[in-house]
């Protein structure tokens, strides 16, 4: 077959396909809409998957720490009851003394009772940190910054500052604001004895912990929990000196502290994700099902399109057009519908992501849970285009087989 003939046929196939699509604008619009929804489900679910992973990474990145030391794989969203590192300030002091470490500090996590009166307490996660850094983005009030050396000095037996930062939803639930007094303890009994002042409102650690969280000066939280003596913490985090290699430093510290798990920020994320295999598998399954569902939906659509055109296809076959040409006609319709559906889905994805992120932020407290890198847009568009065309070609080829003259008698 000469190139000229092929071009002539190609142009005719495209013209025929476009004419068929124009003939039933309602059906065409519905088919495009169905492809759009199929692709949108894929891009939104993929955005959710990426968002969950990036959220974890960002949580660690925002903590601005290069190395994370723990006693066992720690799930930071597991309500913070694990504090397996003993003598945490001592470990931080030893690390800070190293040339390849610029600073180190412990982080403790506890479940505490908190309330505006000793008789009205509710259970919330609390994080003990040496300071509230500039990423806290306070809605009201301010944070705290412990005195220099507090991160490496043994904690006091009693709370010293008696200040804390509340998540806005906790503040609303308790009916308190900046300057008000709250009671906090690891049991209802100890809470009556510990009065703290609310100095700021921020949900920074809530995004990291997965639920509305209190942020408390580290030593005060240890004192409230009664672990000042053993100086327990969940993590000891460290900043690596500018010229030092993170992996090498982590490996070196790991040899020095074989009883601890020493990880870089990246491997800590992987470890946490590894702890959530079921969640990840569920997410991957959802995305896989979305892709599969999208392809099946598209396949059904084009099988229907071919079925609806069976009499016309049979007539074309009867007048001598080949199965390849018929498949090309349906395939081109699939390409055009995939193109339109892909463009619409790509255009609708940011809107859906913004809407779902607002919903997620208002209901669950997760800011920007869904994230859509360019690869997701490209993948969604490619899925619409490739799946639409291939599925339509197959449907057209099959239709060419059953497009017999029987269909012309009806």
């Amino acid at each position: 077959m000469s190139v000229r003939r092929a071009v002539v046929r190609l142009r005719a196939v495209v013209g025929l396909a476009l004419a068929q699509l124009r003939r039933s604008p309602g059906r065409t619009a519905l088919t495009v809409l169905a492809v759009t929804l199929a692709v949108l489900s894929v891009t939104v679910l993929a955005s959710l998957g990426v968002g969950v992973v990036e959220k974890g990474e960002q949580g660690l990145d925002n903590a601005d720490r290069d190395i994370w030391i723990s006693r066992s794989p720690v799930d930071p969203a597991a309500s913070g009851t694990e504090n397996p590192i003993v003598g945490a300030h001592g470990v931080a002091a030893d690390l800070t003394a190293r040339d390849d470490i610029s600073s180190a500090s412990p982080i403790a996590m506890y479940d505490v009772y908190v309330g505006s009166s000793p008789s009205d307490l509710e259970r919330r996660p609390a994080v003990g940190v040496p300071e509230t850094h500039d990423r806290f983005d306070f809605q009201a009030g301010h944070g705290f910054d412990l005195t220099e050396g507090a991160a490496t000095s043994p904690p006091p037996d009693d709370p010293q500052r008696r200040e804390l930062v509340l998540d806005p939803r906790v503040a609303d639930a308790l009916g308190v604001g900046v300057g008000d007094t709250v009671y906090i303890g690891t049991s209802r009994q100890t809470a009556t004895a510990n009065e703290f002042t609310v100095i700021g409102i921020s949900d920074y650690y809530s995004q990291y912990m997965g639920s509305p969280t209190l942020t408390v000066p580290l030593g005060d939280l240890q004192a409230v929990a009664g672990t000042s003596g053993t100086d327990r913490a969940t993590f000891v985090t460290a900043d690596v000196a500018d010229d030092a290699d993170h992996d090498a430093v982590a490996a070196d510290i790991g040899e020095e502290y074989p009883e601890y798990d020493v990880r870089t920020s990246d491997s800590q994320v992987q470890s946490m994700l590894g702890e959530r295999t079921a969640v990840l598998a569920s997410g991957a399954t959802l995305v896989g099902l979305a892709v599969l569902g999208g392809i099946i939906l598209t396949a059904n659509l084009f099988a229907l399109v071919a079925h609806q055109q069976r009499a016309e296809l049979a007539a074309l076959r009867a007048v001598g057009l080949s199965r390849g040409l018929l498949a090309g006609t349906i395939g081109t319709q699939g390409l055009v519908i995939g193109l339109l559906g892909g463009v619409l889905a790509v255009a609708a994805t940011p809107l859906a992501v913004i809407g779902l992120n607002r919903f997620s932020a208002s209901v669950f407290g997760f800011e920007r849970l869904l994230r859509t890198p360019p690869e997701i847009y490209a993948g969604g568009f490619a899925l619409a285009l490739v799946a639409g065309t291939i599925v339509a070609l197959v449907a057209g080829w099959r239709a060419g087989r059953y497009a017999r003259i029987d269909h012309l008698e009806a």
Binding site: R5, R9, E312, L316, A318, G320, R404
Partner: protein, 252 residues
């Protein structure tokens, strides 16, 4: 009006004379059972329906053969067999000397494209295409350029009296006009054989007469096989075969 040498300069008068003297279509002992490979009945269905029993006839070039008989007598099955749209269970179907039963589906499609034009009772024009585009459609497969396709389609539409309707969609045409477009489409590849299934079945008497006149013109240098219940339609035929229960009952 439809002299083939006038339509296609490639056809010489000698070739036309040669065609007139040859047999365009020959059926030799054709038997067909649906449900035994013909495909209409599922394999799980034990019933078979014998649509044709040992049917034989010739259609010379330049003649019109009429097929009559009650519904289910086998008229359409013969048309399908002649057009290569089905392969009979037994017997041979020769189209311009080539046995269609020995060919693959793709080869039969090529034979149909080259030698057969089909006119349906219900026209089966593509509603999304203009009359001219419908007529030009069979030429797409041959890779004929758009301008040549348009020129040939326009000439054929003028020949069937629809020169001023070439840009109209089928939905904008009357039944008779649609059938004339369908006839022009059947002629677009300059086939040797025209197969027409109830070509006037959807038309009123006056319009049907116009279509029959067209078929008569076409039959001067082609073979035409026309199936119909209608005696007026069959009156244009040089020979009429009456079918009953899939068998030839009478030839006149």
């Amino acid at each position: 009006m439809f002299n083939r040498s006038a339509q296609d300069s490639r056809s010489s008068a000698i070739e036309a004379d040669s065609r007139e003297s040859t047999t365009a279509v020959r059926l030799e002992g054709v038997t067909h059972q649906y449900g035994s490979g013909g495909g209409r009945l599922r394999s799980s269905d034990e019933r078979t329906v014998t649509a044709l029993r040992d049917v034989s006839f010739d259609v010379p070039m330049g003649s019109i053969l009429g097929l009559e008989g009650p519904s289910g007598s086998g008229k359409s099955t013969i048309l399908h067999a002649v057009a290569g749209l089905l392969v009979p269970t037994d017997g041979n179907v020769l189209l311009c000397g080539t046995d269609l039963t020995a060919l693959s589906d793709a080869e039969r499609t090529r034979m149909r494209r080259r030698h057969i034009g089909i006119v349906f009772q219900r026209f089966h024009l593509l509603p999304s295409l203009s009359a001219r585009a419908n007529v030009a459609l069979p030429l797409v497969q041959a890779g004929i350029s758009r301008s040549d396709r348009r020129a040939r389609a326009t000439a054929l539409l003028e020949a069937v009296g629809l020169g001023d309707r070439s840009t109209h969609l089928p939905g904008e045409l009357s039944g008779g006009e649609r059938q004339r477009v369908a006839i022009a489409r059947a002629l677009s590849t300059d086939p040797d054989v025209i197969v027409a299934d109830e070509p006037t079945g959807e038309l009123d008497t006056a319009t049907g007469a116009d279509v029959l006149e067209l078929l008569t013109d076409i039959g001067r240098d082609r073979a035409v096989v026309v199936a119909s219940h209608d005696a007026t339609t069959l009156s244009v035929a040089d020979r009429v075969i009456t079918l009953r229960d899939g068998q030839v009952d009478d030839v006149r």
